[in-house]
Symmetry: C2
Subunit: 308 residues, 2 copies
């Protein structure tokens, strides 16, 4: 699956992923009203509103970017109907030719991780039939439980040609509390990076591994270190834009050939119509605002990205 991501990035010349992390409050009022008229002010109504919102954005950007990254928490907060909206979003994105990175940050003991891996990247047997429950192409995974919590994901990745991104250094302010701690002469995040490299060897694509790493845009010095520590791991980089990461700092997240990283923006894209820079589009053209924000972001990232 990582080969497809590399190919799509090259084809679209855009190492950019759009984070589909909708809150009801991001959805233009007209869309909310329509959904509430059909389903009432219910979880179904909320789920329909975020799905309609997503659909508009997907239709406006699918030709510009290789992938989207729906954050499952944003759907989970609307309960079962929210999960249905997540599934619908994943499936529609795939139909539109986008790769889907499920930002699920799951991770548990072996038998439980196996169930998560099946849920998001694999297939489940029901009697004589087989189903793909949520059907993402990639998933983010938490490493706190160690190798036996990761291995079931690797197995499912190998069997179904899928990929994972393991949390190594996250973009949030207190990520350092645990991740930066010194361990045996290096740091926790470097220690996890070593594991990612080892796990990655068991699940290689052509150049990159199907085991990538999440490395926040907000710690560029760490990004530089981790790029070198995991040369064959693709970096999924959150934190650009709303969280403060800058394109000039992101050059070091790429390999010298300009490959090896994909930068995420969520609110910066999906809420573009609420920002000063794109206000002229107005809420009724929110999707066009998102499209323009993607174009601007791609230009910004490519300006500093190493040339092949």
């Amino acid at each position: 699956m990582i080969d497809k991501l590399v190919e799509q990035i090259q084809e679209k010349n855009a190492p950019v992923v759009v984070g589909l992390d909708p809150m009801l409050s991001y959805v233009p009022e007209e869309i909310q009203k329509k959904s509430f008229a059909e389903y009432g002010e219910t979880l179904e109504g909320a789920a329909d509103a975020i799905w309609q919102f997503n659909k508009g954005i997907i239709d406006a950007v699918y030709d510009l970017v290789p992938a989207v990254k729906p954050q499952i928490a944003m759907y989970e907060q609307y309960g079962v109907p929210g999960m249905a909206a997540f599934e619908k979003t994943v499936s529609y994105c795939k139909k539109q030719g986008l790769l889907v990175i499920g930002d699920i940050k799951r991770g548990d003991i072996g038998s439980t991780s196996a169930a998560y891996a099946v849920a998001h990247l694999g297939k489940v047997q029901v009697g004589s039939k087989v189903y793909e429950p949520f059907g993402e192409d990639f998933a983010t995974v938490n490493p706190y439980l160690g190798t036996d919590g990761i291995e079931p994901f690797l197995k499912v990745c190998r069997e179904n040609d899928k990929g994972i991104f393991v949390l190594v250094k996250t973009s949030n302010p207190s990520s350092g509390e645990l991740q930066d701690k010194e361990v045996e002469g290096s740091t926790v995040y470097e220690h996890v990076a070593d594991k990612v490299r080892a796990w990655g060897q068991t699940c290689m694509g052509t150049v990159y591994s199907n085991v990538g790493a999440v490395v926040g845009a907000t710690y560029p010095e760490v990004g530089k270190v981790l790029r070198k520590a995991m040369p064959q791991s693709f970096l999924l980089v959150p934190g650009y834009g709303a969280q403060g990461g800058k394109a000039e700092d992101l050059a070091a997240y790429f390999n010298p050939d300009g490959q090896g990283a994909i930068i995420n923006s969520s609110r910066g894209i999906i809420c573009a119509y609420t920002k000063e820079a794109y206000k002229q589009f107005g809420p009724e053209h929110y999707a066009d605002a998102s499209r323009q924000a993607v174009l601007d972001m791609v230009e910004d990232i490519n300006k500093y990205r190493p040339k092949a």
Copy 2:
């Protein structure tokens, strides 16, 4: 909420939680057949089968134990219908007077953790209405992202009188890879325990905090250390039975008054009818086998538990 757990444990004299972690393969064939007859061999059929299976067990044990712990991964693997079965299970358990610990092991950056907290312990606003999406009483939480990933859970716990259990030392074989690493003269798990104690201070019940810790039964030496490190944190202890934890080793997980810990068993209870010791019940009386397994487990744990 922790006060209610303490009270329920005392009332039922059972520091035991039943892990509702159903796989379709655990469900007696007759139940599967009935669900497939109604819904076909579909995700809906699988979800109905695990829900019927759960219901039988809940009805057979609800008077014996204070709480259940459904593992959400087991439901997630059956997609959206599986999530509906999770929600139905949570809601039915609460109706039967059981406390529900959602074993969800979520954790993310602040704004995303807030969405998870709302999903599982809080309420979500939809227009003028308010809903409880999944409605558990407690949730397990992953600490890899640090304080700002935990704080939204604390906030929701304070607002809604709910609780969390933070992963400190998990029960699986490779938990030590990261959790046992030496950090500033102690270990990663002790470092996380310090955080749990600090977070717990902001969310106290009468004696114990609403911020507890997950500490695996499979590492009794660590359990002893962590019991002392977090005297006011309730320990949620997985790994008894199927994973190898023994009752005699669990004495040290309790405080001297016999309180402060709750021991989980999942497969040992819900799959009891498949074990040699309970085979005589037969698949048609699987729930009675589970009841007997609970009675035996409570006796086993209480034999070694410190007396008040």
